[in-house]
């Protein structure tokens, strides 16, 4: 755990916050998270998990790095954070967990974000925009590179929310050269309906599924729907899940996610057929097929 300082706080209408913390140097995979808590508070008592949106290496007066998180005002934890002023101290632990897996075979990332699920997906888009696309020899034959020889993967983002206020970070995604599709439940911007409908419609228009991977984050019900679509279209799908966490690094066993058991496990377990993985350590990014939705 490091004690860091709030560097800035920016509010987005109505209840979203972008918060920056000064930090030691920190490199992360998109989908990884930090545990954050205002130092010294006992109520809220536990730290909260926030996806790392990005780490800036810009030097500021303190030198070093800045970790950015993006969150929605929900309850005690987020409220306590949103009340901090620059210079206030925060306990920060991370980066934690396993982020999204980007195999060399990826050619097109289909990002699906619902509401405040957007940060890890933006982080992935930005990482993909930065990194060159180099194919390993062994996989070269199998991959059908549709994007030009620029060495970049294609990124298509589907972003949904209740209203236009809840479709977030579109500029960031576009800056990262993602093609962005938007859906809102009230139709105030983009498609009127659910973001999964957009995904499904998009997939129907695709002739080849090779090199496609879905990366999703958002409400549990949305992720479940995405997983079903991925299953139907036979496309690999990684979902970033949430659970109530106390520690964030595998110590409390509080953050379990029910997963499907392998046959071997079912034989081994004499007492039960339930099986859990830890969201914080085995995830938060999981292969969607693993989850016992």
């Amino acid at each position: 755990m490091q004690q860091v300082e709030v560097q800035s706080l920016q509010r987005f209408h109505p209840d979203y916050f972008l918060q920056r913390f000064t930090s030691e140097s920190l490199s992360f995979q998109p989908g990884q998270f930090v545990m954050v808590k205002p130092s010294g508070l006992f109520d809220p008592f536990l730290p909260r998990a926030y996806s790392i949106l990005r780490v800036r290496r810009e030097s500021n007066r303190k030198g070093g790095h800045m970790v950015e998180i993006f969150y929605k005002l929900m309850g005690k934890g987020s409220r306590a954070l949103s009340r901090l002023k620059p210079g206030d101290r925060v306990d920060l632990l991370g980066p934690l967990g396993n982020g999204y897996h980007v195999p060399p075979s990826l050619t097109t990332a289909l990002l699906v974000a619902g509401g405040i699920g957007v940060p890890p997906v933006v982080a992935l888009a930005e990482m993909l925009a930065r990194s060159q696309f180099t194919l390993r020899g062994s996989q070269q034959g199998k991959t059908n590179r549709r994007s030009s020889d620029k060495g970049r993967r294609k990124v298509v983002a589907f972003v949904g929310g209740k209203t236009s206020d809840d479709v977030l970070c579109l500029t960031d995604l576009r800056k990262a050269r993602a093609k962005v599709h938007v859906a809102t439940e009230d139709g105030s911007v983009g498609h009127r309906g659910l973001v999964v409908d957009l995904l499904e419609a998009h997939l129907k228009t695709q002739t080849s599924r090779q090199g496609l991977i879905i990366y999703a984050c958002g409400p549990h019900a949305m992720l479940h729907a995405v997983a079903q679509i991925a299953d139907r279209f036979q496309i690999p799908c990684q979902v970033s899940l949430e659970a109530s966490m106390a520690c964030g690094f595998g110590a409390c066993m509080g953050c379990v996610i029910p997963v499907k058991q392998s046959v071997k496990e079912q034989l081994a377990a004499r007492q039960s057929t339930i099986s859990y993985k830890l969201c914080c350590k085995d995830g938060p990014a999981f292969d969607a097929r693993e989850i016992a939705w």
């Binding site: 536990l46 306990d91 632990l93 520690c247 409390c252 509080g254 007492q271």
Partner: protein, 316 residues
């Protein structure tokens, strides 16, 4: 900073509480585990347990509820997969066990006695999160029976872990001491509940959970204080220790050593900070040895216990 508890010499009095430190491996990236007084691992049961359905954690003011349900790999896999790493440490390892019956407790103790690298056994008769988990620790006769049978099953030091969910903890402590306990750990969590105001259902699927953290510290200190005055058995104080000063409070109340639990979640370096804090206290108040603090808050008239305890056979 050395202390001896249940015949086990410790570098210092700071241990990790069962269920809050995994099997140690999660923490080895944060600090050198050899700096700890002792390591206590998550409760091990005879068979693997998947644990309770999520959510398992609920926050409370100054504390948390948990309902993990003793998720663990079972004694077989523990010995095979977890012990080898823990054995590489110089820090003594105390294995916490829970059985479904008096016999199962004894069987678990036997299995551990044959294993290499186990310094002692903490006997969990106080887990509130499994059906029947509390029964042994809330009835003095059952406490006596379990401790007696574990005592007879193993040459290792036996350390029952007591429940705070009782009318009079000294009655249970006496029963455990009479049954041959080498030390007593107290306290486990207090049964509590949080209701979700949106769903209007208990936050935890099993309704209740175990309350831990600073919120329960005054209760834990009181119980250590009470028990220290009625038994000579050394005590390991547990409950809401976040800082060195908190640990000192337990020592003054009569504990010979302490365990850091929930604090590990907020800061994986917590045990090291607690240790450093105790050292600062000793320096500031000019104590030569940490043992001088043990029970110092107890008026000498009522200080029945000595913190020097007849040594027990060591771990192999």
């Amino acid at each position: 900073m050395g202390v001896e508890i249940a015949g086990i010499p410790l570098k210092n009095p700071v241990m990790t509480a069962s269920g809050t430190f995994g099997y140690g491996d999660e923490f080895s990236s944060f600090f050198d585990l050899n700096a700890l007084g002792a390591i206590i691992v998550k409760t091990v049961t005879m068979h693997p347990r998947p644990g309770n359905a999520p959510p398992r954690i609920a926050e409370t003011p100054g504390g948390m509820l948990n309902s993990i349900g003793l998720q663990n790999v079972g004694i077989d896999l523990f010995l095979k997969q977890k012990l080898p790493f823990l054995r590489t440490l110089t820090t003594p390892l105390l294995v916490n066990i829970a059985g479904k019956s008096v016999e199962e407790f004894a069987d678990l103790a036997k299995r551990l006695s044959d294993a290499e690298g186990v310094a002692g056994i903490e006997v969990n008769i106080s887990c509130p999160n499994v059906a029947g988990g509390l029964d042994f620790g809330t009835d003095p006769r059952l406490t006596y029976e379990v401790v007696r049978s574990v005592r007879q099953a193993t040459p290792l030091p036996v350390i029952p872990k007591l429940s705070p969910n009782v009318t009079d903890v000294t009655v249970i402590a006496r029963a455990a001491a009479d049954a041959g306990a080498d030390a007593l750990s107290l306290i486990n969590t207090i049964v509590g509940m949080v209701i979700d105001l949106d769903s209007r259902r208990p936050k935890l699927p099993g309704a209740t959970g175990g309350l831990s953290g600073p919120a329960i510290r005054p209760v834990a200190v009181r119980m250590v204080w009470e028990v220290a005055q009625v038994v000579k058995t050394p005590i390991i104080g547990i409950g809401g220790i976040m800082t060195g000063n908190d640990a000192v409070e337990f020592l003054l109340a009569g504990a010979t050593a302490v365990q850091v639990g929930t604090a590990n979640f907020l800061d994986p370096l917590a045990p090291m900070k607690v240790l450093a804090g105790i050292e600062s206290y000793l320096t500031l108040h000019r104590f030569a040895a940490v043992t001088q603090l043990v029970g110092a808050a107890i008026p000498s008239e009522t200080r029945s216990k000595s913190n020097v305890h007849s040594p027990r056979p060591k771990a192999k």
